[in-house]
Subunit: 288 residues, 2 copies
């Protein structure tokens, strides 16, 4: 009789009506932490995949698309980023990219769930590799509380959150953006992942609105992440003073998605995205 491997799949319900299926070789971790369900699967298509509360956070094959954009859009737009705060992102992917900038003296990582950090160190060494760097301080706590205690301290804040449900909901609220504003230095900027304009247009619109209530200048950038719903992802930016579209420093070496050319490209929105956030008012979209 022919030898057959078992037909194992992980399925992500991206919306109630849309699902992505990945054939898996094995389940490497499957547990509940104090905050969420943590799953690590080894897939045929995308290598190892980290899944929190059923939603894909990263895959070995395409994590570069997301982590490079989250880090370099702002770090390359700031003339001298030294103090960086990363909220969420316990996997370490954003921190790894941030540390490619030699100007950076300190990265503070605030993730509510230490179990995510532990899982990433165990199963994603190429993603978590910078978490033990001497410049990195890890604070396992609620970012809403952390931010309230800091003033005029960070050059760049990167909000690498999960979807805005449960404990992550507050990370998309205007009150939080205002606290981040206060935690930023005079030339400070923040970026938050704001999901897909196809599957979550209301969330995107509301996040941009919330940012506009907190920041003088608001911008939206976009990029591709194959394993996130619809593949098209957005990054909303609040800035006190600087124009993040203007690159101040070159892209780090050996990036795979981000580049100097991609920097300016990311801020040119397809018309339908502009329509979602502005009802077609292009000037407002650009934060001018």
């Amino acid at each position: 009789m022919e030898r057959r491997v078992p037909d194992l799949w992980f399925t992500e319900y991206q919306t109630p009506n849309l699902r992505l299926g990945l054939r898996i070789k094995d389940v490497l971790l499957n547990k509940r932490s104090s905050y969420q369900h943590i799953l690590v699967v080894d897939t045929m298509e995308y290598g190892r995949v980290l899944v929190l509360d059923g939603a894909i956070q990263l895959t070995e094959k395409d994590e570069f698309c997301y982590h490079e954009m989250m880090a370099h859009l702002l770090l390359c737009a700031h003339p001298n980023p030294e103090e960086v705060l990363v909220i969420g992102g316990g996997d370490g992917g954003v921190v790894r990219e941030v540390l490619k900038h030699e100007t950076v003296k300190k990265v503070t990582l605030v993730d509510i769930d230490e179990e995510v950090i532990k899982a990433s160190k165990t199963f994603f060494p190429a993603v978590s590799c910078a978490l033990d760097d001497k410049c990195v301080e890890i604070r396992p706590m609620d970012a809403l509380l952390f931010v309230k205690g800091h003033f005029n301290e960070f050059d760049v804040v990167i909000i690498d959150s999960t979807d805005p449900v449960d404990f992550a909901r507050g990370l998309f609220e205007p009150a939080f953006f205002k606290d981040v504003y206060v935690a930023l230095k005079e030339e400070g900027m923040m970026v938050a992942q704001t999901e897909s304009p196809f599957s979550e247009p209301d969330l995107l619109r509301d996040a941009v609105r919330g940012l506009r209530m907190a920041f003088e200048k608001v911008f939206l950038a976009w990029g591709v992440v194959p394993t996130y719903p619809t593949g098209l992802w957005t990054y909303a930016i609040g800035s006190k003073k600087l124009d993040p579209r203007m690159q101040k420093r070159p892209a780090p070496q050996r990036t795979k998605y981000y580049s100097d050319a991609m920097h300016s490209l990311a801020f040119e929105l397809p018309p339908f995205i502009n329509e979602i956030i502005n009802g077609g008012n292009l000037e407002e979209a650009k934060g001018d």
Copy 2:
């Protein structure tokens, strides 16, 4: 007892290890033509969806991303496109976009399968709406044969093919690109959809190689199409003389994905795509 709707899904196997699931309200058409299986489903997430041999060709919600890029990249890069040949594309989406250019005097649509045209007219009126235009000539035949009989005739050729299997395989071969070259006028250009660099890197590399055997100048552009595998899609361009990165005429009114800004940006490749087609030689990527 609670009333419940049936749990109906259409599943596309994008690779043997990756599948996309769409919850459906109903199956509207489900038949085999002489060439392929034709399925039309009504989905909750993306509206009506056309599926050929199990692969999604278009959805009502995101078809604009693909059809606008396929048509406008070259039509806006040509100073005076009058004669346009569309190969495949029996749904009519590309033809609809082509006819937004007032310079165009004639569009010849060559699709091997008349049943696709019929299905589109029945179920996708907003996509097929231009197929009855007086400028459109429909030739239901094998494009490999059609192209062999034409010389110095077209300004732009658009190859809107299905995946390169079975009868569509020849549409990705150097011999076919050479025939297209001969069918083009002196300033002529062609574009072909060349799949995703994530799921089909070898196909992309080979198609670009094949184009380089036929054309003086070869370029690659990219864009997003949520319902195509990985969401990131590529468009390979062969040109006799013109540089398609230089826009000659403005974007048509009311486009949703394509715009003047998106035109030049589409040719800026993320580094990993450049690596796939050139092993990192940026100059060659740009066709210089």
